[in-house]
């Protein structure tokens, strides 16, 4: 057997907590990477996948250290090596593509200077040669206008382009091993395809080995040769991509696979008798809204929403789907009164609502609650869970003291959180727990409608599936209606009766659940729906080239 390119042997990584206690976060992981092979590390957040990937560069995040084990790269042990020697390897033997390229680029330097920086550090070639090489890489990565794109600044290119530029930065030193840390997680599905395709063709052509860190099995299925499933810092299962997809052995892997196929949509069974009255609980008509000063035509400088209308019946769910920048979150802000519409109406139970929060009555506000995407920023980090949930109770229902406490406990039960969590601060909760608290706060008001703005997007597949199940259960119990904003077709499909496709702030198409995804007629809806990765290793290659990408 040939010698592997990289090998991790019995690796233990430990972290120090604030009080000086040591916690093992990686517990005896071993695996190998052959030349030209792409290995995927998959698992939920906190499973240690990024930590392991970083050790391949001999790097641990601050506060962490490698306690035991070997990390061999080309036969040399990175753990035993001095920092100076490790630095020599980074960029030339092993390179890293970060999750958020937007955060990885310095906004005040031109892209090309940042891409060729590695070459300068290791003195590999002259600046001109490096530029030519970068341009060649830009072309290989299917970036538009490869000769000149490097002269731009990071904010002048799109997210997908930036992610490919980050890959170019990693590839310029001709590394043998490239580490991709969730490089497409922050991208829209349509962009994700282009980026994945570019990565795959470049890696294949240059016969580079790669480690692909992700929590998305479908993405991994497109690019990896082998999958390693991690949980709690230990390897759960390892095998070729095809085998993992077809015959996963470990229960956790099966759970991951199951989460990927969301439960089929079942229209909510309404117990109430008033079902016969089909009265829309929320009606939005002809909304125009945006940012900046009003222009001569009466529209704001940057008009985000144009003539958007939708209707939501009691006990039903409306999905709003589109890519980032399509105006779907703005719609939630307009309905919630945070961004007053310049034209159009929002009606709640047939009554016209003031465009601004300040003009709405407390009762009107109570009936409609918003849940934001990022629970990290949606929960005040300085207040405990009990305070966060207690405030809407005091504000809308005047509940205090023991009464409030009882209701907080009830809410925690509702969102399936242990009652002991009430004294925790938000940063002491996991991502899924935070999102549950975030949702419980909306429930505290006893609303009729909950506007869910991408509430599962930042969560792992398994956790997101659990949240969706929770939403469905609570809908049954409490007779809620959801406006469900998302870019993820699978989640929308599993919960919404009707789906509105939005592009550039305009309604493209309105589809009922049974028309999804094949009933779409508009080309944009079709493109959006076909871009959702499938659990099939041949899916990416079988797709026709993106019509909007002239280079391919």
């Amino acid at each position: 057997m040939t010698k592997p390119l990289a090998e991790i042997q019995d690796l233990y990584v430990e972290a120090r907590t604030d009080s000086g206690r040591k916690v093992e976060i990686i517990k005896g992981v071993s695996f190998t990477i052959q030349e030209g092979e792409i290995v995927a590390l998959i698992g939920e957040s906190g499973s240690g996948k990024t930590t392991i990937a970083l050790t391949l560069m001999g790097y641990t995040r601050s506060g962490c250290s490698i306690a035991k084990g070997k990390v061999l790269l080309g036969g040399e042990d990175l753990v035993a090596m001095s920092e100076r020697d490790r630095q020599k390897l980074r960029g030339t033997d092993v390179a890293y593509v970060p999750q958020s390229a937007a955060a990885a680029f310095n906004p005040s330097y031109r892209l090309i200077d940042q891409v060729v920086e590695v070459v300068g550090i290791h003195k590999l070639m002259s600046k001109n040669e490096a530029r030519l090489k970068a341009i060649e890489l830009f072309r290989a990565l299917a970036l538009p206008d490869p000769e000149h794109i490097g002269d731009r600044y990071p904010h002048q290119v799109s997210g997908g382009q930036l992610q490919r530029l980050a890959a170019a930065m990693a590839l310029i030193g001709d590394p043998q091993l490239v580490i991709f840390d969730e490089p497409t997680t922050a991208l829209d599905v349509t962009t994700q395809i282009e980026v994945l395709r570019a990565f795959k063709s470049v890696m294949r052509k240059r016969k580079m080995a790669g480690v692909y860190v992700s929590h998305d099995l479908a993405v991994v299925a497109q690019i990896a040769d082998r999958i390693i499933v991690l949980k709690g810092g230990e390897i759960q299962e390892e095998g070729s991509t095809q085998r993992i997809l077809d015959s996963a052995q470990h229960p956790y892997t099966q759970e991951l696979l199951a989460a990927f196929q969301p439960a089929p949509f079942v229209p909510p069974q309404l117990v109430e008798t008033e079902v016969s009255i089909r009265r829309p609980v929320l009606e939005v008509t002809g909304i125009y809204a945006g940012y900046g000063p009003l222009q001569a035509d009466g529209l704001p400088l940057k008009t985000v929403l144009r003539n958007v209308s939708c209707k939501l019946e009691r006990g039903r769910n409306l999905g709003v789907i589109g890519e980032s920048g399509s105006g779907k979150s703005t719609l939630a802000r307009v309905i919630g009164g945070l961004l007053p519409a310049v034209r159009g109406h929002v009606q709640l139970n047939g009554r016209e609502l003031d465009p601004r929060v300040s003009g709405r009555s407390k009762e009107e506000l109570r009936r409609m609650q918003i849940v934001f995407q990022l629970a990290d920023t949606a929960l005040n980090p300085a207040r405990s869970v009990a305070d966060i949930l207690g405030r809407p109770l005091a504000f809308y229902h005047g509940q205090k003291g023991a009464e409030q406490e009882a209701r907080v406990n009830e809410l925690l039960d509702m969102v399936r959180l242990p009652r002991a969590l009430r004294h925790r601060m938000p940063n002491e909760l996991s991502g899924g727990q935070k999102q549950r608290v975030n949702f419980a706060r909306a429930l505290a008001a006893k609303p009729d409608i909950i506007l869910c703005d991408e509430i599962t997007s930042a969560l792992d597949t398994v956790v997101a599936a659990a949240i969706i199940d929770l939403l469905k259960d609570l809908q049954q119990e409490l007779g809620l209606s959801y406006v469900f904003i998302s870019h993820d077709l699978a989640t929308v499909q599993s919960i919404c009766d009707e789906v509105m496709v939005v592009q550039h702030g305009e309604t493209v198409e309105l589809l009922t659940n049974d028309q999804l995804p094949d009933g779409a007629r508009h080309p944009y809806s079709k493109l959006l729906f076909s871009s959702v990765p499938k659990l099939d290793t041949g899916w990416l290659d079988s797709l026709p080239a993106h019509p909007g990408n002239p280079d391919r």
Binding site: T17, D18, R21, F372, T377, N380, A382, R383, R391, N427
Partner: protein
């Protein structure tokens, strides 16, 4: 990172050696401000030495000043003025600055614009010059000094708090509170303030130091605390003639000013860290 925890984690707090030492010095001066004069060996106005700028002796612990008065007793008395006036001024300055700053950030629009420009205008006047003119116009008394120092340092505090609050204001939990229908008072006191307390406290300490220095400066120019009372700044001014003789009378108040300001600075840089241990 490698500072050893000295304070036991009994309270869930940890503080390093520098923090504890500077904290003790600050505590010492606060104590002196309250009870110092009752421990003074001589009355601050009494001429106890026939020589002026006398050296350190067992009788006069820090020597005598330009009139032969006991400088140790005078420093003990001066602490009250320096620490008291500065503390009162910094409280007023930071309270008004922080409240106005948070309000401006939350309300925004014209309110923010007008308030910011007005305070910017105030900020653009050199502080010492402004102090000189105001004291010359109104005359110097302790209340005037407190208000004056507070007015001079409010714009800075406002700017600082507003910058912090603007960042905080864009976060989703503020949007949630707004969508809930919360009023400005709730937004600033319950949602924003708890998230900016750390930096605001640090700013409070720093501003206190500035005020001590400005007050000492004004007193040095003869516009601060008026005789027969004396704060540390006026002690330096009175005895500046002793510099040529290396008299302890001029060095001691300088050391007092330095020890207080440096300790406050070190203290706010090394505030106790709350221990958070999740696992």
């Amino acid at each position: 990172m490698n500072q050893t925890p000295l304070l036991s984690p009994r309270f869930g707090l940890r503080m390093n050696a520098v923090g504890i030492l500077s904290g003790l010095i600050v505590l010492f001066w606060i104590l002196v401000a309250f009870v110092g004069p009752s421990f003074a060996p001589h009355a601050p106005g009494d001429i106890v030495d026939f020589d002026f700028f006398g050296p350190i002796s067992s009788e006069l612990w820090l020597g005598s000043d330009y009139l032969g008065r006991d400088i140790f007793s005078r420093i003990l008395l001066g602490t009250r003025y320096t620490v008291g006036i500065s503390f009162a001024a910094v409280c007023i300055a930071c309270f008004s600055g922080v409240v106005l700053g948070m309000t401006a950030a939350v309300i925004g629009g014209w309110f923010d614009m007008v308030l910011s420009r007005v305070l910017d205008a105030l900020n653009s006047i050199p502080s010492k010059l402004f102090g000189l003119v105001m004291v010359a116009a109104i005359g110097s008394s302790i209340p005037v000094l407190i208000v004056l120092l507070a007015v001079i340092y409010t714009p800075g505090s406002y700017r600082f708090a507003r910058a912090l609050a603007v960042n905080c204001n864009t976060l989703d939990f503020i949007s949630v509170a707004r969508a809930r229908g919360e009023k400005t008072i709730y937004l600033i006191s319950q949602e924003i303030l708890p998230n900016i307390t750390g930096p605001v406290l640090a700013d409070f300490g720093l501003r206190f130091v500035f005020i001590v220095l400005l007050l000492s400066g004004l007193s040095f120019l003869g516009l601060g605390v008026q005789p027969p009372n004396a704060d540390w700044g006026s002690l330096v001014k009175e005895n500046i003639g002793g510099l040529a003789f290396a008299a302890p009378a001029v060095i001691a108040p300088c050391v007092a000013i330095a020890s207080l300001t440096i300790s406050v600075n070190l203290l706010i840089d090394n505030l106790p860290v709350k221990i958070r241990d999740r696992a």
